[in-house]
Each structure stands twice: as structure tokens, then as C-alpha cells.
Subunit: 231 residues, 2 copies
């Protein structure tokens, strides 16, 4: 009996043809049905392989239009942002945490913008420092929407970081992410034990549940921080 073809076999064969330019950018691939027949498998197996290629941004598929190699390939990369404690610990370091400030305050303009608000609002602001092997690692400036998350008022943020509490207790729908570079001002330089003006890598994240905003956080990393990923 014939060998059993897996969807990964199909994936590899088609991918190889793209890599060696048998199918070049913009080219149209045969219909799933024909590929299935050629390779001797069911159409759904081809479907499975093609979905993978499609999700990776290698081909584009359209009903009736067929499958095409992307005219302008993209590098599609995925990365995970986890709880900072985990990030530190999985690097084999000792994690610690300091609460710097906790207050109720009117949301400033940048926070209003992140949440799409038109007027300032009382929110819970939390500033904290994450440390790796006792060295400053990430300073986080967080605003929590107390309308959406009233329970956070009762959490002891001295021992449990807002980062972790929220992740465990407040699942979110979707998030907006933003990465950029920023010069250390006096405040950040002091907290992160960095030189004034040094370039710092910043990650901003705003999370929502449905249309209700949960929290927005600006994570300022210490000098030398890199975000690394592989496709």
C-alpha cells in the first residue's frame, strides 16, 4: 500500500517549490484538488498544509481566485510577552519586585489616548520596579481602569505585582502593543540605575475586555534590553 501522506509532507513539498523558485512571487498555484491528486492524498490534507502557508504569510488564498505566492513576501514573526517574573526566572535569574507608588489620579493625556477617552478620569496608577538578580530590569508605569477592575483596590500590591494579579485575574480580549526607543530622563535614569540620556527600549501595552479598557502599561526596560524572536 502507498505511503501515507501527512499535511507536513505537503507543506514541505510546496514550500520547497517556493524556496527554489519553481513558484515565484506572484505565481498561481494549482487548485488544492489537483495538488491532492498529484501527491496522492485527500484535499483536506492539502487544505491543512495551505492554511499553514497562508498563516505564515507565504501564500495568499482567495475563493475562486486560487492560491498565489505573495508578490511581496513579508517576515511574519510572533513573540510572547509573559509575566515579567517568568521572563526573569526563565533566564535563570532571581526575580524581585518593588512597589514605588500607588495612587488614584486623573488620567493624563497619553493614557486617555491609549483608552480612547475624551475626558480625564480617576484611575489607579501603579509604579513598580522589576528586578533581575537585584539589578533594575523593568520600570513599569501602569494605569488601571477601576471601573472595569474595581477589585484591584483591595489587592496588596506590596507582595503581588499588579502585572501578575491582572494577568491571573483579569483575562483580556485583545491588546494594543507599541515598541519604541526613548532617552532616559532623570527619573528613569535614577530608577533603572542608568546614565542620563541613554537609549531605553520601551514597550507599551493596553488591554481590553470587549470594549471595556482594563489597563495600560508603559514598561521602560533597562539599558541593553533586547526583544528577540525567530520565525
Amino acid at each position: 500500500m502507498a505511503v501515507r501522506i501527512t499535511w507536513q509532507d505537503v507543506y514541505d513539498k510546496i514550500h520547497k517549490r517556493i524556496l527554489d523558485s519553481s513558484y515565484a512571487p506572484g505565481d498561481k498555484l494549482p487548485r488544492d484538488e489537483d495538488i491532492a491528486q498529484e501527491l496522492g492524498c485527500a484535499r483536506s490534507t492539502v487544505q491543512r498544509a495551505m492554511r499553514e502557508l497562508s498563516e505564515e504569510g507565504i501564500v495568499e488564498r482567495r475563493r475562486k481566485g486560487g492560491t498565489h505566492v505573495r508578490s511581496y513576501p513579508v517576515t511574519r514573526a510572533t513573540f510572547d510577552i509573559s509575566v515579567t517574573r517568568h521572563e526573569v526566572e526563565s533566564a535563570g535569574k532571581v526575580y524581585s519586585y518593588q512597589l514605588i507608588n500607588r495612587e488614584i489620579a486623573k488620567s493624563p493625556r497619553n493614557v486617555m489616548a491609549a483608552f480612547g477617552l475624551t475626558a480625564p478620569k480617576d484611575m489607579l496608577r501603579i509604579e513598580a520596579l522589576h528586578l533581575s538578580d537585584r539589578q533594575p530590569y523593568i520600570y513599569e508605569d501602569r494605569w488601571v481602569c477601576t471601573d472595569t477592575v474595581p477589585e484591584i483596590a483591595n489587592v496588596d500590591l506590596q507582595c503581588e505585582s499588579a502585572n501578575e494579579w491582572l494577568v491571573l485575574n483579569r483575562p483580556y480580549d485583545h491588546a494594543d502593543l507599541r515598541f519604541y526607543a526613548q532617552n532616559a530622563d532623570a527619573y528613569h535614569a535614577d530608577l533603572l540605575d542608568a546614565q542620563l540620556g541613554v537609549a531605553l527600549f520601551v514597550m507599551e501595552r493596553t488591554t481590553w475586555i470587549g470594549t471595556a479598557p482594563i489597563t495600560t502599561v508603559k514598561a521602560v526596560t533597562s539599558p541593553g534590553y533586547q526583544l528577540i524572536t525567530r520565525t
Copy 2:
């Protein structure tokens, strides 16, 4: 006759139960078979939904172990890096390009590191500036492995950027990506029309075909550049 259940229906139902904490972090979900029966669909439909949840990092699945809500949720984000010309044009700006330098040179240490080389090697180095509406946008410092891509020697890089030529003519297998912040030195400040010392967002990318290195590029963005994505 009963309503036809789609995998997205299943996805939504399960996701909702996770969002409202019916299933909390660490909890075990019923077997696919049971969910299929409960919702009145085939097991493969549940499979399809569960794979999605799994790929998004919301649940973890293991044979025999079953399906669990992740104990420590992660934010899994995806972003595309496309040809710089496209990035500029899809922002509604006018793209232009300047070749700054083109030379054969021994790979410096950082390039050796990116490629995993132990000894320096002659490679093609290309420096170029991408502009958006005539303003400096990204400076790219690229090293091309001429062993893997000999044809690039014959390409006129005055009119076609190496970025674009490589993407169209040299498909790659996988890529390493690296993001960080860096202070503008005199050279970058001059090219990008930026102030000395200002924080710049940098993207490094190294691509491979199998085990053969293709190119490594350091893209230094102009001040204010942000990488934005949404989950």
C-alpha cells in the same frame, strides 16, 4: 433540523468561559469528544477551535494530558516586516531610496556572530537610506553572504534596493529578529538628520536558507519610529 455549529462558535463559547473565569488559569477542560457532544458537533470541529486557542497561547494541549488553560497567560502578538518601500507607501507617503555605500569587506565581529562564523569572511556590504516623503526614514547597514547569493554582484543597487531584490529573488527559510534601542552616534545622526545621542529604535534581521546564511541587516530607524501591533 439543528443549527450547524461552526468551529468559530465552539471557539467563542470556550473563549467566553475562559474570559468569565468559568475556566480559570490552570483548569482542565473537558476532552474534545465531550465538548463535541455537549455542543452537538463533530470532534474535528472542536479540534479546529482548540487548535486556534492553542496557537494563540490561550490553552495548552497535550496528548493524554488533556487541554488546560495556561497557568500564566501570555500576550502572543504577530507582526509583519515587509519591504520598506511598501511600509512607506502604505502609510500614504512617497518612498525614495539612496545607496550610500557598496563594498566588499571582511565581516566584522557582530556580523560573524549573527551568522555563527568563527573567522572573518569577504562579504558584500551595502549601506542605504530609505526615505519617506523625502525625509530620512530608515538607515540600513546590510551584509550579504556572497557565497550563498553570488548573483547580487551583478545587480544595480542604485535603482533597486538590496532589500527589495533579496526579498523577491532570495526566499528564506527562517529569520532571527532583534529589537533594541541605541543612541545616535555622529554617523547615524548625520544620515537620519537627527540630534546626536537621541534614542533610536533598531531592528536587526538575519535570514537563512537551510543552514546557509543569506543576509543580515541592521535597520536604524529615524527618531519617533514605533513598531505597533495588535493581538
